[in-house]
Amino acid sequence: MISLAQMAMAAGFVLILIGFYGALTQRNLLRMIVAFSLANTGVHIVLVAVGHMRGRTAPILDAAVPVADALTRVIDPVPQALVLTAIVIGLGVTALMLAYALKLHARKHTLDIAKMTELKW
């Protein structure tokens, strides 16, 4: 039987592929950035799904998860810490891409990637 983690992982992979295809085929810069952020979300889902284990709960010690039981009751906290970092950096990268897109539009009056031909040969 398929587990929750595998299902989420499959959805994450499909999301990465959708973002990849979108970034390759779109011509509008803003749409390419949207596609990148979709792929970003897909990567986060895959990483979190890797850390998930069936029948266990979140890595927070409280009344429901006493310290003595932590080893058998909590899931892997490391991928979660990793993804937390990745989400925050992801926003930084997206803001950077958007700022450059805005600057390009100010110079060329277009967002069409096919019309930016300075580096084309």
């Binding site: 499909v14 509008n28 810069l29 949207v34 979190v48 927070i60 100010a106 009056h109 277009t110 069409d112």
Partner: protein, 106 residues
């Protein structure tokens, strides 16, 4: 929570299907604001999925940053790009022409 209950299973199937559907809308939509909102929806559904996957920290981060701030960054840029198009420049494509007639909030 030892064996996965059918409720959780059904919920996560629903979430995954909606996630992929919203991602397809974000790629295929003819109008840019719709695409941006669909990308925000993908983040929001992903944050519910993180909650189901027992990662509440990640779920909070994704909801606040991925679906909140990122969407507004896109809209700020979109508004600036639209403002510049009144100069009579040629547009970047049909999608931006569509944007011009409908409000951003649509």
């Amino acid at each position: 929570m030892n064996s996965m209950s059918p409720l959780i299973l059904g919920l996560s199937v629903l979430l995954c299907v909606t996630l992929i559907g919203a991602a397809l809308v974000a790629i295929r939509a003819t109008r840019l604001p719709i695409a941006i909102l669909a990308a925000g929806l993908v983040s929001l559904i992903a944050s519910i999925l993180f909650l189901v996957l027992a990662a509440p920290d990640v779920a909070m981060t994704e909801a606040a940053i991925g679906s909140g701030l990122t969407t507004f960054l896109f809209f700020f840029v979109l508004a600036r790009v639209r403002g510049a198009e009144k100069d009579g420049d040629e547009l970047a494509g049909d999608e931006l022409a569509g944007v011009k007639h409908d409000g951003v909030g649509k």
